[in-house]
Amino acid sequence: MDKLISTDHLVKIYKLGDYEIQALRGINLSIEKGEFVAIMGPSGSGKSTLMHILGCLDRPTKGKYFLEEKDISSLDRNSLAGIRNQKIGFVFQSFNLLSRTTALENVELPLLYNSSYSKEKTEKAKKALSMVGLEGRENHYPNKLSGGQQQRVAIARALVNDPAIILADEPTGNLDSITSMEVMEIFQSLNNNGITIILITHEKDIAAYAKRNITFRDGKIVRDEIIPVPKKAKDELLSLPPVENEEEI
């Protein structure tokens, strides 16, 4: 298997005046292509901090980060933006869609900053929307969509540039359990198609859909285990009574 991510003793220190917070205290992590990793841990343990570094939104204070064997811990702002655009798709707890902008335009957003800008961007965006089951909702505005649908638009946006990794920070944190299940089903099917997914969650139930679980405490990895047989969201959804599943009106 190809190595996608590897970190060498990542340290992140936040300075607040003369007071220092060690958010990450030496993270050595290695993730291969096609993995589905869930990161768990108590609040403040450094999960989001790691995610920001892996997603090239932030740089480590110390240590090295290799993405596809390339050292990117020392790249400048513009190069990091290019990597975010080409290799990384983000999904956030609060969806982070542009309001007053249609679902389609939200999904097209990464394509606007794509240097190999293609004429088929609308086609690409439509395809991404249909992959998350939102065909026909292209021209809906986020405030006219349910939470689950908004998160699916966000997933489509993360997908649209064929990224190497999808990074999701508590993507189900604002969703009810059935909607969460649906979102996890999408992640699982994307993963089955070969996309690497790293997901942060507080819930054991959600982590159980991943193939690998990593647990954080005080800026350190305290547990790293392979889940031999992950739960299948699709099967669970099928076993639910049909009425409760009716989320779209």
């Binding site: 939104l57 933006a81 983000f90 990464p110 606007l112 900053y113 946006r157």
Partner: protein, 405 residues
């Protein structure tokens, strides 16, 4: 990111806050409109002055008694009488660069025709007056050399005088009384309208200068001399010849000041031109200040907009927007804002100018240059005042921006 896309985003962002965008534009609109109107007024004034001066005859020389200081003050009392008929004759004979010459005798008088009377200016000239001043007659004939020699009581009326004494009827052959003396009207001058300083040039009566001296004013000297150079390029030469001759005739020693002044029409045109230029610059400068105030308004709104849209900026950065992309987006927004303001301002400025020219009867000239200049200047205001907010947006930290509530 293609410019069309950025424009679309800018248009949407501005359209979201229509009221705010329009109020922001208002600053630029007023500024640009003021600049356009001010330049129009200044340019119109310049054109008017120039055309009036050209209409006086552009190789005209004026010779006044007394010397002018640089500031335009007449120096030395009692020098008003230093020019004589003989001086004029000598200039005509001895200055080859001078083509035509006429003494000027000017006085005011009450004029009566029938039961109407009118106070006007009586001006005595030689027969060369129509040629020197490029001022043809509208009807009748001019007086002759004989009339000058004999100081006959004939006169040519300006249009305003005809209007006031004859109610527009043909006055030729009629008798009018100037200072109680009867004068026969032999001609009417064509109309010249107001001069650059607002004086009605048609409000006068032309008589032979000898008549003006002896019969009306009762003086032996002359008020001034007008002359024309043989052509435009000889104006400076003619000025020098006249100066040398008069210094000699008036026995002025080297180092002493002249007791006369030679002014060419060109000098006056230049002086008037520079005065109206200063006016134009002053007016435009005042108008530009309002444009700058408009620019500050744009900066203010763009700063508010950057703060309001911090999260949007964070989202755009998270999906791969570089600092440059964000900078361009906000810069384009402020340019669009200022250019739309500029265009509306140009329209408003043109309309205001037209209104001013109709209501105040002031000539307005709006040049393409002024319009192009205002357009580019408003664009420049957009870039200049939009840069700081745009730069602030582009320098935001993506994580901070995403967290912003």
């Amino acid at each position: 990111m293609r410019y069309f896309q950025i424009l679309k985003v800018a248009y949407k962002a501005l359209g979201r806050n229509k009221m705010r965008s329009s109020l922001t534009m208002l600053g630029i609109i007023i500024g640009v409109a003021a600049v356009i109107a001010m330049l129009g007024i200044g340019e119109g004034a310049k054109k008017m002055v120039n055309s009036q001066i050209a209409s006086l005859g552009d190789n005209l020389l004026n010779i006044f008694p007394g010397s002018f200081m640089s500031g335009g003050m007449r120096a030395g009392a009692g020098t008003r009488t230093s020019l004589t008929e003989e001086d004029a004759k000598a200039i005509k004979e001895k200055c080859p660069a001078v083509l035509r010459i006429s003494p000027v005798v000017r006085t005011g008088a009450q004029v009566v025709a029938g039961n109407l009377n009118w106070g006007t200016s009586i001006e005595g000239y030689s027969t060369d007056f129509p040629l020197i001043r490029s001022w043809p007659l509208a009807s009748g004939t001019f007086f002759t050399e004989q009339d000058v020699k004999g100081a006959t009581k004939v006169c040519i009326l300006g249009k305003t005088v005809v209007d006031n004494l004859f109610a527009g009827q043909d006055p030729i052959g009629e008798i009018i009384r100037i200072k109680k003396l009867p004068f026969r009207v032999i001609g009417v001058l064509s109309s010249k309208g107001q001069n650059a300083f607002g004086r009605d040039q048609d409000d006068m009566i032309v008589v032979p200068y000898t008549t003006a001296q002896k019969k009306i004013a009762g003086i032996t000297y002359i008020n001034s001399i007008i002359a024309s150079a043989v052509d435009r390029t000889k104006i400076d030469l003619a000025t020098k010849q006249v100066t040398d001759l008069l210094r000699q005739r008036h026995r002025i020693l080297p180092g002493q000041d002249d007791d006369f002044t030679v002014r060419s029409q060109l000098d006056i045109a230049t002086a008037a031109g520079s005065t109206s230029k200063i006016m134009t610059i002053l007016l435009a400068a005042i108008a530009s200040i309002s444009l700058i105030v408009g620019g500050i308004g744009i900066m203010n709104i763009m700063l508010v907009s950057v703060t309001e849209r911090t999260r949007e900026i964070g989202i755009r950065m998270a999906v791969g927007a570089r600092g440059k992309d964000i900078l361009t987006q906000f810069l384009i927004e402020s340019i669009v804002l200022s250019l739309i303001g500029g265009i509306v301002g140009i329209l408003l400025g043109v309309l205001t100018s037209k209104a001013i020219s109709v209501i105040l009867r002031w000539p307005i000239f709006i040049s393409v240059l002024a319009i192009a200049l205002s357009f580019f200047f408003s664009g420049f205001v957009g870039v200049f005042f939009g840069f700081y907010p745009a730069r602030k947006a582009s320098n935001l930290d993506p994580i901070e921006a995403l967290r912003y509530e």
